[in-house]
Symmetry: C2
Subunit: 211 residues, 2 copies
DNA sequence: ACAAGGTTAGTAAGCACTCACTTATTTACT
DNA sequence: AGTAAATAAGTGAGTGCTTACTAACCTTGT
């Protein structure tokens, strides 16, 4: 399939090639890590010579860093709450937690490479993971934590530190995704649809914190 | 601190050196991954020349593999249920789940390197993670899943697929550990003792599945 | 004395990266 | 429209450095 490009179009527009290299690099980095992936492998997968990489990126680090930029354009890292704004407004607790889990699970499934890359990045202590964490995770804790606090005020939930609840809930579905991606790809331990998983996780959590 | 060995004891017994190299290799592999760690770095950290490594291990892969063997001897990967056998017998649900979470969290904290190594290994698709998964994780799902099923029969828990409950619960505390180790080392998002975390997680889960 | 523990000085292969060069596509001019 | 100059895309053959790993030799405790 990579040969397709090679055979039919020997030449590609600059931006197109740049994006292709980013995408391929993300996949390979996510599989073998930054240091475990060679520039030659990336070039081969793209069906070009190694030198092309260095025409587009001044070095391997820059290629790594530009994955996030490329990512931010092609699949914007969405605000996960914009999709459930109405549920939040209506204080539909089940709707909020169910959809949050389902969106997360679906997103992880579609974007397995990105999730793996973030893990590699976090383990290697690369900036990529730090940026993602500060822009995204912090926001989720603030926002969902605040929702839980308000519902406690309403008397709907019992008194627990909201952030512990957020941690517990995110833990359920993130860990479920990690299991499916890392350790149990064939889902021998537990085979369940994202919808069913989201339902069970949301139910356990809500029963667990209701007054 | 590594210089200590170098300065005071120029020579070490074979087994001692072997174990030292395993320990250092585990730490470095856990920080930078297998391919990201050089044999020279390991040798330097141990205060010996690189050649010593190859006196003890025929190659880098064998050093990697022998970490698990070494691990199994020094800190046996305990049966996590032997410590809570009495709680299980007495059907002390809170005791079972609280202690399970607490043991897990404490273990992760003590053995951060090992956890990181398992993640690296899983991401790189190395056998190390597969062996660990099949020996340990499968057992936990079987055992804890069976406990939940029995308590459902007793009428103590509502009817949910037991393995989903195991997934949700393990998710809470494993994800909490991963947060503390990978993304939020300074615990800016959530600072909580292992005891308090175990208590909250166990409570949320039990309230979430009780009849 | 001598074996176990350690070293020094390599080797071949692999790495990120460069350079001089060729080939394809636009652009500009008649 | 036809063509030549300018520019953009891609290549092959390197560079110097690092890597895992080896072989021949030294050193120390008993």
């Amino acid at each position: 399939m990579d040969k397709f490009f090679e055979a039919t179009t020997t030449r590609m527009a600059g931006d197109e090639r740049r994006q292709q290299l980013c995408k391929i690099a993300m996949r390979l980095f996510s599989e073998r890590g930054f240091r475990g992936t060679t520039t030659k492998e990336i070039a081969n997968a793209a069906g070009v010579s190694e030198a092309v990489i260095f025409k587009h990126f001044s070095n391997k680090d820059e290629l790594y860093a530009s994955i996030l930029d490329n990512k931010a354009c092609s699949h914007p890292i969405n605000d996960p709450f914009s999709e459930i704004a109405d549920k939040i407004e209506q204080k539909d607790d089940y709707g909020v937690f169910y959809n949050m889990a389902l969106n997360g699970l679906n997103h992880h499934k579609e974007d397995e490479d990105f999730l793996r890359l973030m893990l590699h990045s976090a383990l290697e202590g690369h900036e990529l993971a730090r940026v993602f964490f500060e822009n995204f995770i912090t926001y989720i804790y603030d926002y969902l934590g605040e929702y839980i606090r308000r519902r406690q005020e309403d008397g709907a939930f019992r008194e627990v530190e909201p952030r512990v609840v957020v941690r517990a809930f995110i833990g359920m579905f993130v860990h479920h995704s990690l299991n499916n991606i890392l350790w149990d790809k064939e889902q021998k331990l537990l085979k369940i649809s994202n919808e069913d998983a989201a339902h069970e996780f949301a139910t356990i959590l809500l029963e667990g914190i209701k007054k």
